[in-house]
Every structure is written in C-alpha cells, then in structure tokens.
C-alpha cells in the first residue's frame, strides 16, 4: 500500500498538523534571521548624473491621470511607466503600507501619491527618499509660490491641489449654499453627505466652529482637544441622521439623482456633472484645501525614474493636461496660458480657476499630531459613525 493510500487515524493527522506547525515556526524564524537585509528599504543613492532607465512604478489615486499621458511620458523620458490606480482611500492605503514601511521593507512602488493628512507622518517616520533638487528643474521653476511654503515640500512635492467645499443640488438650494451651518437646517435632514474619513470633516467643521467662537484655531494649528470637540459637535447630527457619513466617492452622483441635497466634495467631482443641476461653493467660513504630494518611498527600486516623472509633470503643457483631466486646481505656472489655447472654456471655468476671494478662504489641513493623538481621534470618530 502506498504512502498516500494508507488509512489515517485522527492521531496521525493531529501529529502531522503539529509537525507542520513546528516546521512553519522554524521556517519563519530562520527566514526572519537570514533575510532581514535582503528586502530592507534602500536609502539615498540619487543623483542628477545617474542615467534614467528602466521602469517606474507609480501608486496613484483613482482617476489620477489621463491614460494618454502615460504614453507621452514614456516617449519623452524613455522610461516605462507602470501606472496603478491602487489608492481608492488614503486611510486604507496608509494602513496597507504602514507595516512594511515600519519594518523597513519596500512597498513595491517608486512613486506614490501622498494624501495631505499623511505627509508629516511619512516624513517624520523617515519613510521617504528626498529627491535631488538638481533633478527637478521644472519643479523649481514652475511650482506655484503658494505651494512652495507647505511643510515638507522638499521631500514630498506638492501636486494635486483643491478645496473640499460644498457640492449641492441647485433644485433644492436655489439660492446656493453659503455656510456650513446651512447643512444643519431641517430642510436638509438626511440629505447631506459628509466625507467618509475624519480629518477632512474635522478641518471643515473646525472652520465653522471657529467662526462661531467655539474653538480658537484654524485647522492647521488645531489642537487634538479642539479636533475631539469638533467630533463631539458632529455626533448628535450624525446620530440623528441629519448628516450622513457612509456615502463613498459617488456622493455627487447621488446629488444628481436626488438622494442627496448637498455633499462635502472637491470641485473635480462637481465638474463631472451637469452644472445646471449641481453647484459648488466654498462657504464663507472657509474650506479645507488638500495638497496631495508626489513622494518617493524608501525602498524604491528606481528613484531616478521617479524624479524624472515628478519633474515631467511640472512642465506647463503636462500640468495643463493633468488639470484638464482631473479638473483640480493648477499646481504649476503657465497652466492657464496653455489651456487658453487648447481649451479656452476650461481656462475661464471659475470652479477650476477661482478668484482671489475664494483662494483666500482656503485653509490647509490639520497638523499631523502624534500617533497616539491620531489614534484617539480615529477612535472617537469610529464610535460616532458606528451608531
């Protein structure tokens, strides 16, 4: 009788399970001891004189770039672009890469889109490679002045930039929306969608509470106690169903269909729908503006190619293509001039090119806080949205 045909007893099976578990434990221990250095994140090694070749792997937000621009970059730089829209949610992406970065391992990408709220976290944990400024001449020349002074600008290049304002149904708010407080009216009960993650909501409603004199600081200087106060303020409105939290990214589609009357959203979502039915407003109290970044994570296999890709996006015609495709605010000089020739209607669109009065009402996101402070805020938010 062959080995595989012998009758098995329960004792034999359990013995084999135990041997398997022991083998697994030994294997994991040996692997842990011997391979610690083999996939450890590499540091440095950049320089403008190094040739740019190979493939650059880019973890991007959903709908980040026009697919045609992938080919244009590859033709211009002679580098293959492995473009992956793997970031549907900043919190979830961070949760997925944090264990590897904490362990000093590569996350498998050369370039990542970094959400505003996480820039300081990555920077302070030393999870990013500082690009060589000599390899970024277009960034140096064309980055907008107002973005040049953001924190960690040298290690995470400012890029994707827009406010989180109020998208609203013009049928249900014919005279428009002017204040965050308008969302708390009885007429809007159960028809207002908040952003799904805590930080943007804390920033937005923090501006409202500051205007009411209930907290002292704008989002960028907000203390963790003030942030928790904002969550406490929102709690009864969320629990009563006045404000809805579980809307996902298709909140603006729900505006068009009548399921919502208003939603916290960036202008890019509004610009995708019929302007006759859906409007966009930056409230009088102000709105938080995210400044997402392009950053090279530790362990990147081809950081030189990542630098080339970053710099390519700061050529005015490429920045204009980004702006035209994503309908975000321009982040580089010369974009409006390029669009005036290629898409004059967009160049005159106030949603994408707002006036000074709107720009003056935009505020950066809250400060990074410590790991424990962020955890306590998340915990408070979970308790509120879990019913």
């Amino acid at each position: 009788m062959s080995t595989f045909n012998q009758p098995r007893s329960r004792r034999t099976f359990l013995r084999q399970m135990g041997l398997g578990a022991a083998a697994l434990g030994v294997g994991v221990s040996v692997a842990g001891c011997s391979s610690k250095g083999s996939t450890t994140a590499k540091t440095g090694g950049l320089g403008a004189s190094s040739p740019v070749t190979g493939t650059v792997r880019w973890a991007a937000n959903s709908g980040e770039i026009d697919p045609k621009d992938v080919k244009r970059f590859e033709a211009a730089a002679g580098v293959t672009l492995d473009y992956r829209e793997v970031i549907a949610d900043a919190d979830q992406f961070f949760a997925s890469v944090k264990p590897q970065l904490t362990a000093g391992l590569s996350i498998g990408y050369d370039l990542i889109c970094l959400s505003s709220q996480y820039v300081s976290v990555y920077a302070e944990h030393d999870w990013l490679i500082k690009p060589d400024s000599s390899a970024l001449p277009n960034v140096t020349k064309n980055l907008l002045p107002q973005l040049s002074s953001v924190a960690h600008r040298d290690i995470a290049i400012p890029y994707d930039y827009a406010p989180l304002g109020l998208a609203y149904s013009k049928k249900d708010f014919p005279s428009g929306l002017h204040s965050w407080g308008d969302l708390l009216s009885k007429a809007a009960h159960g028809k207002v969608g908040l952003y799904s993650t805590p930080i943007p909501n804390v920033a937005a409603w923090g501006l409202y509470l500051k205007s009411q004199g209930k907290i002292d600081h704008a989002p960028a200087e907000m203390t963790i106690e003030e942030a928790l106060e904002v969550v406490a303020f929102l709690k009864p409105y969320i629990r009563s169903g006045q404000l809805l939290t579980t809307q996902g990214e298709n909140a603006v589609q729900k505006l068009a269909s009548g399921d919502l009357f208003a939603a916290v959203a960036p202008p890019v979502n509004v610009a995708e729908v019929d302007p006759v039915t859906v409007g966009f407003a930056v409230p009088t109290e102000g709105a938080p503006a995210y400044v997402d970044r392009l950053a090279i994570p530790k362990g990147a296999a081809n950081p030189r190619a990542a630098e080339a890709l970053i710099d390519w996006w700061f050529q005015p015609e490429n920045a204009a293509s980004f702006c035209k495709y994503t309908l975000q605010y321009p982040y580089a000089r010369g974009v409006k001039d390029v669009l005036a020739k290629t898409d004059p209607k967009l160049a005159d669109n106030p949603i994408i090119f707002p006036g000074e009065d709107v720009l003056n009402r935009l505020f950066p996101y809250p400060p990074p806080w410590s790991d424990n402070e962020r955890a306590s805020l998340s915990r408070a938010w979970t308790a509120v949205i879990s019913g």
Binding site: G20, Q92, G258, A375, T382, S386
Partner: protein
C-alpha cells in the same frame, strides 16, 4: 494528508492564532501584539453590542429572505425544469458572475430617490417627495438577501436533485392531500416569527407597536398559514426530509457570510445599520487599532461557531459536509 495539514496550518491555523494573539494585546493603541490584556474585549463588548445585534438581526433576516426566494426557485428548477434545468439554473445565478461591488451599487440606483422604483411612485403621488428607501435597514436587507440567494439556490438544487424520483412517484400515490389545517397553524406561527424579526429589524431594532406593524405581523401570519396549508404531503413527508442536509448547507453558507458582511451596510445603510463588520473594517483600516479589530473578529468567530454548532447539533447535520 501531510500537504493538506501543512496547507491548513499555513493558511488557516497560523493566521487565526495571530489574530487571536493580537486580540489579547496590552498595547494601549492596539498596534502590536505586546503583553496580555482583556482590554480590547471589554471595550468591544461595551461599545459595539448594538453593531453585533445589527449583524445578528440583519444577517438572520437576509438569510430568511434568501431562503424564501431561493428554495422555491431551486425546487421549481429541479422538479419542473425538465430539459432546461441547466439553463434555468445558469440564468438564476448568472447575475452573480458580475462583481459583488457592482451588484451592491446597482441597488443604490434601484432604490434611489429618483430610481426606477421610487421615481414612478413619486410621479404618481403614491409616496411623498421626501420618502426614501436608501439608507434604511430595508435597503441593507434587500441588498444582502440578493447577494445570498445563489448560496441558497445551489446547495438546495443539489439536494433536490438527489431526491429519488421513484420515491416521489410512490409518494404521489400514498399521499394525495395537502398539509391542511395543521400546516396552517404551524405556518402562521412561523410567519409570525418571521414577521416579528422583520418588523424588529426594519424598524431599527425597536419594539414597534404601531397599527402598521400589527397589520404587517397579521399579514405575515396569514401568508405563512396559506403557504403551509397548501404544501403537499408528498413534499412534506418525502422531499423535505431527504433535502434537509442540502438545506442545512444552504443555511450555513448564507448565514455565515451574512454575519460578517459590511459592504451592504456601508453602501446601502446609515449610521444605525452599521454591522460588526463595518466596525472591524474601520478599526483596522482607519483607527489602526489592530487589537480591537482582532478582538471583534474573534468575538464574531466565536459567536458564529456557537450558532453553527447548535444548528448542526439540532439538525444532526453532519451529512451537510457532503454538500458544503
């Protein structure tokens, strides 16, 4: 057997041990498995019992609805499908070849304020302009039931197919009647039980004593009585007993995923319909409270195993393993 044992150790036992170990972590912010503490469990039980209750009630109601739709469908295809059985079975489960997420989002369109259901009703003035179905327990149960139906149809169909047709022919001679009055009594009790579960769940786990709720309970009881009374004796005495393993398997295959689901509650529900799965997702991905997420997961696993054990013990369903 050794490769199977290793497979089980690597892909089942090791991750399970890791999760359970993490659930007992004394790390204050639950990021690593350090020390030993019951803190995550006490915090979970203190704060998230309503979410557990949502998982149990919504899961049970969705499973029940899936059975009420899926079992008659499976029976009809098996006994009356003829040569087109395979095609009918394929047509019944074909929608489920699409992405799970797409199917859930399609319910958003279906139940939307101006969607194909409410839009015409509002145009005709049959419901008010502010009437909504999205964001209620109803939409969560509807979406979840829809996702569970193929898990009822397939094992039920397999069970019905295994019933010897000669026995059915003999039963047709022996048993010519219907369940009648006795069936009506039992059916009304079952209908009432289902009605109470539905009213309790759909009213947000409140004891709704309104006239509407009372009428709904009466309707459930009457429908239950009518359906049970009309069940044939041959089905009752022959087909049903022989199909119990398959139906038990269907119950297991639907209730377990229903308990752990979070997508339907996230996209179709509101803050009051959040299930334990939603909390686990938030704790793991937003809060980064791995210990808390592990504690809730372990709790859900323990409750699921307890319910499953009781269910299989009561039904003596060891034969279900042939069909699962």
């Amino acid at each position: 057997m050794a490769p199977a044992a290793i497979w089980l150790v690597v892909f089942f036992l090791a991750p399970l041990v890791q999760v359970v170990r993490l659930s007992f972590s004394a790390d204050e912010f639950g990021l690593t498995a350090k020390g030993w503490s019951l803190g995550s469990y006490t915090a979970a039980l203190g704060a998230f019992l309503p979410n557990l209750a949502n998982s149990l009630t919504i899961g049970l109601l969705a499973t029940t609805v899936a059975f009420l739709v899926g079992v008659p469908l499976a029976y009809g295809i098996s006994f009356y499908g003829g040569r087109r059985r395979a095609l009918l079975l394929f047509l019944a489960v074909a929608p489920f070849l699409t992405s799970y997420l797409v199917r859930v989002i399609s319910w958003q369109t279906l139940l939307g304020a101006s969607g194909p259901v409410l839009g015409p009703l509002k145009s005709l003035g049959l419901v008010g302009d502010r009437f909504v179905v999205m964001g209620t327990s109803f939409s969560v149960v509807a979406g979840l039931s829809y996702q569970l139906i193929p898990f009822v149809i397939l094992p039920s169909y397999a069970a019905f197919q295994r019933v010897d047709r000669d026995l059915c022919a003999a039963a047709a001679d022996l048993y010519s009647g219907r369940w009648g009055a006795r069936g009506a009594v039992l059916g009304s009790v079952l209908g009432l039980a289902v009605g109470m579960l539905a009213v309790y769940t759909l009213s947000g786990r409140r004891l709704d004593l309104s006239p509407t709720a009372a009428l709904a309970l009466l309707a459930f009881a009457m429908v239950g009585a009518l359906v049970a009374a009309s069940v044939t004796e041959s089905f009752l005495h022959v087909v049903l007993p022989l199909s119990v393993p398959g139906l038990t398997a269907a119950g297991v295959l639907t209730f377990i995923p229903a308990l752990g689901d979070y997508v339907n509650a996230a996209l179709l529900g509101n803050v009051r319909t959040q299930m334990l799965g939603n909390v686990i997702q938030t704790k793991f991905l937003t809060e980064l409270d791995y210990a808390g997420a592990a504690a809730l997961s372990s709790l859900l696993l323990a409750i699921t195993l307890a319910i499953l054990g009781l269910y299989l013990h009561r039904l003596r369903g060891t034969a279900v393993l042939d069909l699962v």
